[in-house]
């Protein structure tokens, strides 16, 4: 398939709307992605034609829903190249996925064990480990970041020891867009026998990840970040680890037998999918993955890279504009401030021009503390954005700066 940006934009109903009298320019893609019609239609189709609770149902509609749900699991397995489909656990999102693992390792770690977290983490990736460590007495070590926004790999090497049981790092930092050297981190950590969880929430809309090649132990993502519905995400885990971890939540589906004395847990993936899952959400998740593959991750990468270059070049011409994490090694995110102007003010004015950006800490306060700032303006592009939109951003930003100086 060729990459025709105009055609692609037609896939997204929301891109037709106006905001404050201007065409809507959505540059908040790192917060959540917009949804193509095919994903929306898959939800409508489910609810209008074959909505039913899944598994254990003997009637036709329940079978249809179950088949669609499980076929989404297979699409996702194939996309990420997981070894088994039961290594793909559906969750309500990355936050849930990470908490599930943190809960699972609570009883597998002992006081004095160490876990290493990168200094670029989203809150979702910090707080669950703090909560876990409070319970089992493990210790958190932090890989420091550098001015470029990249992690200091040599400090990471020094932090590793036989006490290291777990390493947690995001694939791509949401605040800055930096792509972390996860393959290097995984291999190094494995030399010490540590388990590695990679948070792929920011990565999976931009690049195709081959989990077996990466040899990562756990990988997470949220459907809403990659053109899928809200309220659904994935936890990939190597079978070995998923079998070792105790279940997170109790409920229907995850049970093989229940009496008031004793309960036997079901097999993977059901052991971790307690209760009625987000059936429509999972189906939409599968559809989103299929859609992105139809567009093609090569095309996505090319287009996004050229948007990033174009925008970076333009923004850098603005006096006093400082980009944080100004590395080449990143996806289509630009996090910046202009002189002493507060990010909130810039965001508010850009909104008046129909432009959606994110301002603030981006759930990554430690990064803000590092740069000693209260927040940034973050623009984040997706494959459906255009250079014309960047031109509008540029002009509006100049106006905002004039008004706010």
């Amino acid at each position: 398939m060729e990459f025709d940006i105009n055609k692609i934009r037609e896939d997204f109903p929301i891109l037709n709307r106006k905001v404050n009298g201007y065409p809507f320019v959505y540059l908040d893609n790192a917060a959540t992605s917009q949804k193509p019609k095919t994903v929306i239609d898959s939800l409508v189709d489910y609810y209008s034609n074959y909505n039913s609770n899944i598994h254990r149902g003997v009637h036709t509609v329940s079978q249809e829903a179950t088949d669609a749900y499980e076929s989404a699991r297979q699409s996702i397995q194939t996309h990420f190249n997981a070894k088994y489909s039961h290594e793909i656990i559906f969750t309500s999102g990355t936050t849930h996925s990470i908490n599930l693992v943190a809960n699972g390792f609570q009883s597998l770690l002992n006081s004095g064990d160490e876990i290493i977290i990168s200094g670029l983490e989203h809150h979702s990736n910090i707080v669950p480990w703090q909560m876990m460590c409070e319970k089992n007495g493990a210790l958190i070590k932090v890989i420091p970041m550098q001015e470029s926004g990249e992690l200091n790999f040599s400090v990471f090497e020094k932090l590793l020891s036989n006490k290291t049981k777990l390493v947690f790092v995001n694939h791509i930092s949401n605040a800055l867009g930096i792509i972390n050297p996860i393959k290097k981190i995984i291999d190094k950590a494995h030399e010490f026998g540590a388990v590695v969880l990679v948070d792929g929430a920011q990565a999976s809309s931009h690049l195709k990840t081959n989990l077996q090649e990466l040899n990562v132990d756990f990988y997470t993502t949220s459907a809403h970040k990659l053109c899928g519905p809200t309220g659904v995400g994935m936890l990939y885990g190597k079978e070995k680890w998923l079998k070792k971890m105790p279940p997170y939540q109790g409920g229907g589906e995850m049970i093989s037998s229940v009496t008031f004395e004793k309960t036997t847990y079901a097999e993977l993936p059901h052991k971790f999918e307690a209760g009625t899952p987000n059936i429509a959400g999972v189906i939409g998740f599968g559809e989103a993955i299929n859609y992105l593959n139809k567009i093609g991750f090569d095309h996505i990468k090319n287009h996004e890279t050229s948007l990033l270059k174009y925008a970076t070049k333009k923004l850098k011409t603005i006096p006093n504009l400082k980009i944080y994490g100004d590395s080449l090694n990143k996806t289509s995110v630009i996090s910046f401030n202009v002189g002493e102007i507060h990010a909130y003010d810039i965001g508010s004015i850009l909104d008046k021009f129909g432009i959606a950006v994110r301002t603030g800490q981006h759930c990554a306060q430690p990064i803000m503390d590092y740069y000693n700032i209260s927040g940034t303006v973050r623009v984040s592009f997706s494959f459906y954005n255009t250079t014309k939109e960047i031109d509008h951003l540029y002009k509006s930003l100049l106006q905002a700066i004039t008004m706010l100086s």
């Binding site: 598994h55 254990r56 003997v58 079978q63 179950t66 499980e70």
Partner: protein, 139 residues
């Protein structure tokens, strides 16, 4: 008869029926005629997982051929199990391994072999092949 021949025979028998009701009635009949698993083999380890009704499968080899016996609490499950065993029981391990189950589609009972169906028949089919594989390795 080879597996293929038996399967063709079954397809022919079913082709006489005009609607699902006749097919189901016949299938249920078949379930009533099969040789049942002996009570002593109704063990937990012979239980097939993932079904709403209990379903047992036992296998043994006699003179190079695999003999399966089965039983199920649900009469429909038992009927389909009977149609499976009629083709696969009393055959050599190799023939069993190399066979397929397209005939189930052809007689209009495909839905019962859906991987997500809670009747355990897909697991049973897998188990039939596993036994054949295990026995073939022994030789």
């Amino acid at each position: 008869m080879t597996i293929k021949e038996i399967q063709d025979e079954i397809v022919e028998e079913f082709s006489l029926f005009e609607n699902w009701m006749e097919r189901y009635e016949y299938m249920i009949e078949l379930g009533k005629t099969i040789e049942l698993i002996s009570p002593s083999n109704k063990t937990d380890s012979n239980l097939i997982k993932g079904c709403q009704s209990k379903l047992w499968l036992h296998a043994e080899v006699l003179e190079g051929k695999v003999f399966y016996t089965t039983d199920s609490e649900a009469i429909i499950t038992k009927g389909i199990a009977a149609i499976l065993l009629r083709a696969f029981s009393n055959q050599t391990p190799l023939d069993i391994i190399n066979s397929d189950v397209k005939y189930i589609d052809e007689i209009g009972l495909k839905e019962h072999l859906s991987p997500t169906r809670a009747n355990g028949l897909v697991s049973m089919l897998r188990q039939i092949k596993y036994y054949a594989l295990a026995f073939s390795k022994k030789e």
